[in-house]
Symmetry: C2
Subunit: 241 residues, 2 copies
C-alpha cells in the first residue's frame, strides 16, 4: 500500500486530517530531505528513506519496491502531491510494472492556495498554474502558455519561478505578458509559505525585483480587475457592493 501525501506548503497545521492519518499508518516514509524535515516530529520511530533533489524517479521506484514487500509506504510531497508532486510518477511506475499495489492519493493545500491566503484573495476568479521549469517541458511550450494565459486574462500562479540555472525565465514571462496586461498589474510574492521564514511582497509587473524570487517562492500575477488595498491583493469575483 502506498499513500502519496501532500503535506501542505509549510508547518503541520496546514496538513489535513487525512494526511496526518496516512503518515501515522505508514511503516516507511519516503521523501525529499527538506520535506522530511518539515514533518520530523510526526515520524519518530518510523523507517525513513530520504533522497536529494532531482532524484524523483529513484525515490518513487524505491517506494514502489518497498511496497511490494508488503509494507505500508507514505511518499510525502510538499503542497499537494498531485500538483508538480510525486502522485503522477508513482502511478506511472505502478502502471508500467502492472504492480498489484494499492495507491491512495491524499490531497493537500498547494503552494498557490497557501500563498493566496497570505496575500488576501487574488484567486477569486479564473486562474492558471504555470511552471517555469524547462527541465522537462520545452521553453516554447511554456512561452505559448504564458502568452495565451495573459491574453485570456487569467490570474497566473508561477511555480518554479526562478533558480540560478534559469535566472531570467520569470522576467521573460512577465515581459511577454505585458503585451496584454498593464505594467501596473499587481503581483504578489510569497516566500516559504507557512514556514517560519515566510515573507510576502506586494508589487507590480513593472516594479518587481527579480532578486527577491527563488525556487521556494510563489509568484501570483493579477488579472485586469485585481487591486491592492490595505495591504491585501484582491481579485473581485464581480459582486456589486
Amino acid at each position: 500500500m502506498i499513500y502519496v501525501v501532500g503535506i501542505g506548503p509549510g508547518e503541520r497545521d496546514m496538513m489535513t486530517g487525512e494526511a496526518l492519518a496516512a503518515i501515522q499508518k505508514a511503516d516507511v516514509i519516503v521523501g525529499y530531505i527538506t520535506y522530511i524535515r518539515l514533518i520530523e516530529e510526526l515520524i519518530q520511530g518510523k523507517e525513513v528513506v530520504k533522497t536529494g533533489m532531482r532524484k524523483e524517479i529513484d525515490r518513487c521506484q524505491e517506494a514502489v519496491d518497498i511496497a511490494k514487500t508488503g509494507k505500508t509506504v507514505a511518499v510525502v510531497s510538499s503542497g499537494d502531491a498531485g500538483i508538480y508532486g510525486m502522485a503522477g510518477l508513482i502511478l506511472e511506475i505502478v502502471d508500467k510494472e502492472q504492480a498489484a499495489i494499492e495507491v491512495e492519493i491524499v490531497a493537500g493545500v498547494t503552494a498557490s492556495i497557501g500563498a493566496a491566503a497570505r496575500l488576501g484573495a487574488p484567486l477569486m476568479h479564473d486562474f492558471c498554474h504555470i511552471s517555469l521549469s524547462d527541465l522537462m517541458t520545452p521553453w516554447e511550450v511554456i512561452e505559448k502558455r504564458v502568452k495565451l494565459a495573459a491574453e485570456a486574462d487569467f490570474v497566473v500562479c508561477f511555480y518554479n519561478p526562478r533558480s540560478k540555472g534559469r535566472a531570467n525565465h520569470l522576467q521573460h514571462a512577465l515581459e511577454m505578458m505585458m503585451a496584454y496586461k498593464s505594467p501596473s498589474t499587481p503581483v504578489g510574492i510569497v516566500k516559504d509559505v507557512g514556514r517560519k521564514e515566510e515573507r510576502k511582497i506586494l508589487t507590480t509587473m513593472a516594479d518587481i525585483d527579480y532578486e527577491e524570487v527563488d525556487m521556494t517562492t510563489m509568484v501570483i500575477v493579477g488579472n485586469k480587475e485585481t487591486y491592492v488595498s490595505g495591504g491585501r491583493m484582491i481579485t473581485p469575483r464581480g459582486y456589486t457592493l
Copy 2:
C-alpha cells in the same frame, strides 16, 4: 476578528488543522446552510448564522457587522475560501467600510485538488480553473478563456459546470475546445468529492454524458498527454521511465 475558513470539499478529515483551530476559536459561525451541515459536530454550542444560496453579500455583511461588536466570527466556505469562495467579498466589504477588523484567510483543499486525488493525477502539469457560471461574468469572457485554455493545452478544471439555468454551458465549452483537443481526450468527473455520496466517472470529450454533471460536480479535461490506465487519469509530468 474574522476567520474566512475553507473547510475542504467534504468530510472533516479533508480540513486542515488551521481550519479546525479557527472554527474552535470562533464565537459565531456564518455560512451557507449546506456547508454548515458538513461541520455540525464541530460547532455545537456556538451561535450559527445560516443563509441560503445567492445571499453571499448579505452573509458577508452580517459577518462583518457581528465582528464589529467584538465577537470572533468564522465564515465558512467549502473547498478553499479564496477560490470562488467568501474570502474576496469579506475583504472587499472590510475595505469599503474601512472597518478596523482583523481578517485571516485560512487555506483549504479546493474541489479540483480533491477531485484530482480521487481520479489519479490529472493535474501534474500546467492547468487552469474556469467557472462556467455567467451570473457575474459575461459569457463572452468565459468563451474566450475556454478557447485560449484549449489552445494553450492546459488541463482544464470546470467549476460550476452545469445547472438547470445553464444546462448547455459545459457542452458549449467542450465543443469549442475540440477545435484544439482530440475528442478522445480523457475527462474525469467527480460528484460530491469527499462526501458520502461521492462518485467518479472516467470518460472522454466525445463520450461525456452531460446529464451526469450538476453544480456539485468537478469536471477535469486532460491535456494532449493525459491518459487513462488501470482506472486512473494521469497527466505525465515528463519523466522518462
